[in-house]
């Protein structure tokens, strides 16, 4: 195989298609959004070309600050819950027999095929007073009467974790399968109980993978806008919900774009900080 760097312009040929796709479907829409975020809203029509910071200025209010804070909190909570559930689960799965692994992975993949709407309404039924899981608890005598569990933060969190968990497991799975099983055996011969060996060997050895997965789930959860509306109260609405609201129902594209750009910037900053902290931790 040829190893040297491309010499002529034509050597870049194979890159043309992916580059084109990237420009058409990512760079142009994103640039448009950035541009629109500086436009002026035209109440009669859509928006008019301008260069004003009004949209960003309006954003700097306590209300939007709170919403942003809640969005970040929710996404981080979802990411942490997913990691806490998925790492031990995927570890056990990777040590199970081939058959068990296939059954579980197929099950998880089928959850991926469910749309956010279906997940939202399924959980809203499960959390309802009339047909929900509390009826089961009443039936086995754990509760005296059924209650509605939604709308609530717990309901939003549960559904979002349910939605993100398959992704988490599928991202962690290859790394855990590749992890040398003799590492934990060695830890056990050195005096660590299975649980201790999990926390002193498996988790630290997979630190980078876990960190990357955490960031992935965090970003994934930031974009969720249906589940908070279906299962939460207005105070559980995320920035994504407000962006949708502004863009689609209030027809205020410039303001929606400004919020989206701001969300991207905050996300990038957070991810950058996490990576920086990770690198520092490694050097220490």
């Amino acid at each position: 195989m040829r190893r040297e760097a491309p010499q002529k312009l034509s050597d870049y040929g194979p890159l043309l298609f992916p580059a084109g796709m990237l420009i058409v479907f990512f760079v142009i829409p994103f640039a448009t959004m950035i541009a629109v975020s500086f436009f002026k809203r035209d109440p009669a029509g859509f928006y008019s070309t301008a260069f004003v910071f009004d949209n960003y200025a309006r954003f700097l209010s306590l209300f939007f600050g709170k919403v942003l804070g809640f969005s970040l909190f929710l996404a981080i909570a979802v990411a942490i819950c997913c990691i806490l559930l998925a790492v031990p689960f995927t570890y056990l799965l990777s040590r199970a027999s081939r058959r068990t692994q296939v059954v579980w992975l197929v099950g998880l993949l089928s959850v991926l095929s469910l749309s956010e709407v279906i997940i939202g309404f399924a959980w809203s039924t499960l959390f309802s007073r009339t047909a929900g899981i509390t009826n089961l608890l009443v039936a086995i005598g754990l509760m005296s009467q059924p209650v509605a569990l939604n709308p609530s933060l717990g309901a939003v969190l549960t559904a979002m974790v349910y939605q993100a968990l398959p992704y988490t497991v599928l991202v962690l799975y290859p790394a855990l399968v590749r992890l040398d099983p003799t590492l934990t055996e060695a830890a056990r011969t050195l005096g660590a109980s299975p649980i201790k060996s999990f926390f002193t060997v498996v988790v630290p050895a997979l630190r980078n993978t876990i960190m990357a997965t955490l960031i992935m789930v965090f970003i994934f959860a930031l974009g969720s806008y249906l589940l908070p509306q279906i299962l939460g109260r207005p105070q559980h609405w995320t920035l994504s919900v407000l962006i949708t609201d502004q863009a689609i129902y209030q027809s205020n594209m410039p303001f929606a774009a400004a919020m989206a750009v701001f969300l991207v910037l905050v996300t990038l900053a957070l991810v950058g900080l996490t990576l920086l902290a990770g690198r520092k931790g490694e050097a220490a």
Binding site: E185, R188, T189, L190, S197
Partner: protein, 345 residues
């Protein structure tokens, strides 16, 4: 009795029996090598001693306490894996200190012990290196130090040296043996290299298809193999069929062997004769007749291949006793009765 005792250990995987009814006692402080061809159950036996697998039958006792069902982490042992299994996220020092940290030993004491072990394995000053930056032999030694950090009751090594090149392997064999003698620790090593076993062991245990064929001192195994498998597996040997007449006189390759005592009642069997015990002489004079087919001069030793009675016999001699033969020459073969081991066929 202090030390390790295996009593009728059996391990079945489904319908396949990997280890069959193995009994062995390893007195405190001895060095045992488990030797055998690939797939004979050495690793399986070792894993049961470590508690990583449970036997399907039998008992394991350590210093008279039954540990058959004691979980691995409560057995106070040190084990070196074939893959070494050094923790990639820890430094050399942290790897060695792992078992101490798990047991809650103080930081100061940990450091002292790590320094002690590092100087024992000639790697002083390497404590802060990442394990990925070590050479094969260094990683090997770190794995050994890590296993020895708590001064375990039992030191287990599964093919610890197989990843090293021949020169380093020989050096490590000697080092390992000296270390074991200095520490006086009961040690079991799995290997399929018989030279390695002979170098290090007090007792060599030869296994085949899940069973122990012989357990004895290295020289004993070499000089007095218990059966044809052991004779053939350990070193080079000539396996020669013989018949005995009613007076107990043995005949092999068409000639009688004077002075060889065949146990009563045995009318046929196999003689195991080491190549260095095969002497080539001039033909006739009651010697077995053969013809030289090939001479291999290895510098340090000379191997002469002789065909006699339809069988290939190998004689090994030292350069100063070089037999004066050429290919195609007729020679006589002399076997002295005290070097012939009589085995059942």
């Amino acid at each position: 009795m202090s030390g390790l005792a295996l009593q009728n250990i059996t391990k079945e995987f489904g319908t396949f029996t990997a280890v069959k009814n193995v009994s062995l006692t390893v007195p405190h402080g001895t060095f045992v090598c488990l030797l055998g061809p690939s797939g004979c159950g050495k690793t399986t036996l070792m894993r049961m001693i470590a508690g990583l697998d449970l036997p399907t039958g039998g008992a394991i006792k350590l210093d008279d306490a039954d540990i058959t069902r004691v979980p691995t982490h409560k057995r106070d042992l040190g084990m070196v894996f074939q893959s070494l299994a050094l923790f990639p996220h820890l430094t050399v020092g942290e790897n060695i200190a792992y078992s101490l940290r798990i047991r809650g030993v103080g930081k100061e004491d940990q450091k002292k012990r790590v320094d002690e072990l590092l100087s024992m394995i000639h790697l002083s000053g390497y404590a802060d290196r990442p394990v990925a930056k070590l050479s094969g032999g260094q990683r090997q030694r770190v794995a050994i130090a890590r296993a020895l950090a708590i001064s375990p009751k039992l030191f287990l090594l599964d093919e610890p040296l197989s990843a090293l090149d021949a020169k380093l392997r020989e050096a490590m064999q000697v080092e390992l043996r000296q270390l074991q003698q200095r520490l006086g620790i009961t040690t079991i090593v799995v290997t399929h290299d018989q030279r390695e076993a002979m170098t290090m062991a007090d007792t060599v245990v030869v296994m085949n298809s899940g069973e122990i064929r012989q357990a004895a001192a290295p020289v004993e195994i070499y000089r007095r193999p218990a059966d044809t498998f052991v004779a053939d597996f350990i070193g080079m040997t000539n396996l020669i069929d013989f018949t005995a007449d009613s007076t107990g006189r043995a005949h092999a390759l068409g000639s009688p062997i004077e002075g060889l005592a065949v146990p009563g009642g045995l009318s046929r069997g196999v003689l195991s004769v080491r190549p260095e015990d095969v002497h080539l002489t001039a033909p006739g004079h009651g010697a077995m007749a053969g013809r030289v087919t090939f001479v291999r001069d290895l510098g340090g030793t000379i191997e002469t291949f002789v065909e006699a009675g339809g069988k290939q016999i190998v004689a090994v001699s030292m350069p100063h006793a070089r037999p004066d033969v050429t290919v195609g020459q007729d020679v006589g073969i002399k076997l002295s009765p005290d070097t012939c081991v009589v085995l059942k066929s």
